[in-house]
Symmetry: C2
Subunit: 422 residues, 2 copies
Amino acid sequence: MERLPGFRDFYPEPLPKPDLWSADARQYIFDKWRGMARRYSFREYDGPPLEPLELFTTKSGEEIVGQLYNFKDKGEREISLRPEMTPTLARMVASYERSYKKPLKWFSLPQLFRYERQQKGRLREHFQLNADIVGESDPGADAELIALLIDILRSFGLTEKDFVLRLSSRNAWQEFYRQRQCDGAQEYAFYQIIDKLEREAPELSDEKLTGMGFSLGEVSSFIEQGQPTAELEAILTNLAARGLSDYVKIDYHVIRGLAYYTGVVFEAFDRQGEFRAIAGGGRYDNLVKLISGGSVDLPALGFGMGDVVLFEFIKARGLLPRFDAALDAFCLIENAELRNESLRLIQDLRAAGLVVDYSLAPAKSDKQFKRAQELKAVHTIKLERRQAGELLAKIKHLQTREETVVPAAEAIERLRQRSSQR
Amino acid sequence: MERLPGFRDFYPEPLPKPDLWSADARQYIFDKWRGMARRYSFREYDGPPLEPLELFTTKSGEEIVGQLYNFKDKGEREISLRPEMTPTLARMVASYERSYKKPLKWFSLPQLFRYERQQKGRLREHFQLNADIVGESDPGADAELIALLIDILRSFGLTEKDFVLRLSSRNAWQEFYRQRQCDGAQEYAFYQIIDKLEREAPELSDEKLTGMGFSLGEVSSFIEQGQPTAELEAILTNLAARGLSDYVKIDYHVIRGLAYYTGVVFEAFDRQGEFRAIAGGGRYDNLVKLISGGSVDLPALGFGMGDVVLFEFIKARGLLPRFDAALDAFCLIENAELRNESLRLIQDLRAAGLVVDYSLAPAKSDKQFKRAQELKAVHTIKLERRQAGELLAKIKHLQTREETVVPAAEAIERLRQRSSQR
């Protein structure tokens, strides 16, 4: 029986086939995400993977339904697997808005689902770090969020030579638009053209823009000049103070496709241009109000960073570590009479925090030793009874082949020392 | 807008209302699960939360569909959210059976979904630790798995006074049945009666048993005698060697409802009898063969432990820790001229691994200090410029009120020392 197309199994390393997904690599990414978000004093939250369909259509309109895993449950409710986290965040914040002091700095690691047309290698689910700040309109919040994004990518070993954050502003584009056009109805359509500028033929873009009373020339020159707004200026100054200037640049090509952004928007890109955007986000000061039906009005901003592009990116840059089982010791039970003593030793070693394995069933010595090697154990440990009755533990380091023999009672302390030295 | 009934939001601590679910408590449970499973040399895996419906009906029959979140996707596939993890594990193992050396020791922390009739407080999703050993028929594997279950519960601070593992055997019941009945067709129905024995009126059980040619008397006396099979004997000896005897007892009341168990079965119970089973599992030597359509035949055993009962249990025993933000320092920016230097300090403190927060927007001194207290910061840190131009850092411990003033350049090292002392 096969798994569904577009979904992933995550296997333990070493992987049977190189194109399988690694559960260890996934956990490595999650640990980095969680670790840096916490250092920035972000707190974790989560919501259900299933939500009322209305939560997503309220935010994104009925068009989104075509991309959803939506269905009717046995209670006739219209429900959907979540395609993004922001509506859930807005719902959660609106429910207990008064109980939390603002600003909130929250993060989550949801799995998200989209029913996309089947293309080779195109996935229908991914995990995404979502980090958001709610209740602060000062650009200092934008700078803090962007600094977090940069430091997360740096925590994987990526540098300013690997990626750059392109910083833009819906406000700047709004001013550009409104100075030239009084028909507000076309504004979002105009943003959509800007969003496609880098992917579409210039003639097509020019035609569309001309139809709205603009020209590709004036749009291009606005982008090229790239004059930062006061808000962007404040963010750049803030990031410079942190020593992060080399990781950002103003780039008005970026405008973000989604309708609900209201201020600063940004995307993180691979400098070599091999990959799709690694992360993206911005301000959405009206969304909490929209989702709460008007009862709660809070400024907010956030970004999302998916696990798939990030994984491919750090892998391509040679930054993915090797994932071994980190087995501190494999206990060899060669003398059946010492099985009970060996089990006790294994129990005590684990109680001391060490990772320990052994042959669950009686097996020949060479088979046990082979198993220790397969599992890449750092040490083997073996009990032996001396003629005088004394119980000894023989500890062997499999790489250096160095052997130590100590009284069994001292084995735990000895192994613990050795393991903490690594 | 409300979340769906039977689903949970997970909020950061401190919780606005005591009956909300805590994201910090969830992470605490996950960390304990993952930590102990790794010490036992179990490796993590995961599969998709959506699977072909057939995967679950193959294992459990069509009856299970009534309890599933199943639907047809936009490609007309019959799919379902996973109600349990074992079929996915069997599917994954069968796919790459040859690439992994046996026995496999694997664990996962899936979220599982069941469409149960709405009852007050009854959830439709939960998280569950699944730990399984595949490819070993020796009772040493059963003992290892049971020891892991016990050590996980102990890692929460629970002792032999809090819980006990009731150990039983499908083999023992099979022998009991077959000695008295040749009609194998009734065998599973008989197990179902045994499974309900403790919850049903004795008269009803007796009536049902009599209808099958048994009597409640002989069944009860078989349970009371509780003679361990050779297999159970081996497991008890193994656990005794580990010093875990006080955590287990033979109890033939336990038989487990599911059809597919083939040997040892067990359930972990609260000694005070307040809660439903905390965990349960057993051997299922035929399931991999069934799921793989006969192509792969491996003995296997495993257990599941849900987060909901466990959480209620450790909470009731007073073993749930307090979850603070663990904020090492809150940086006070009282002098606007030192904002840039302060941002640099915050950046450096975080780069050194410390958890640091500050007021994102300029704010009055007392408001900043109040925020530091709300967030339960361990220290405040504040830059000051001396007249001679020297930059100093004033570090204050908020509990002891102890203050230290050091050159700004030494602040990081000083705070790091203090934080590692905690």
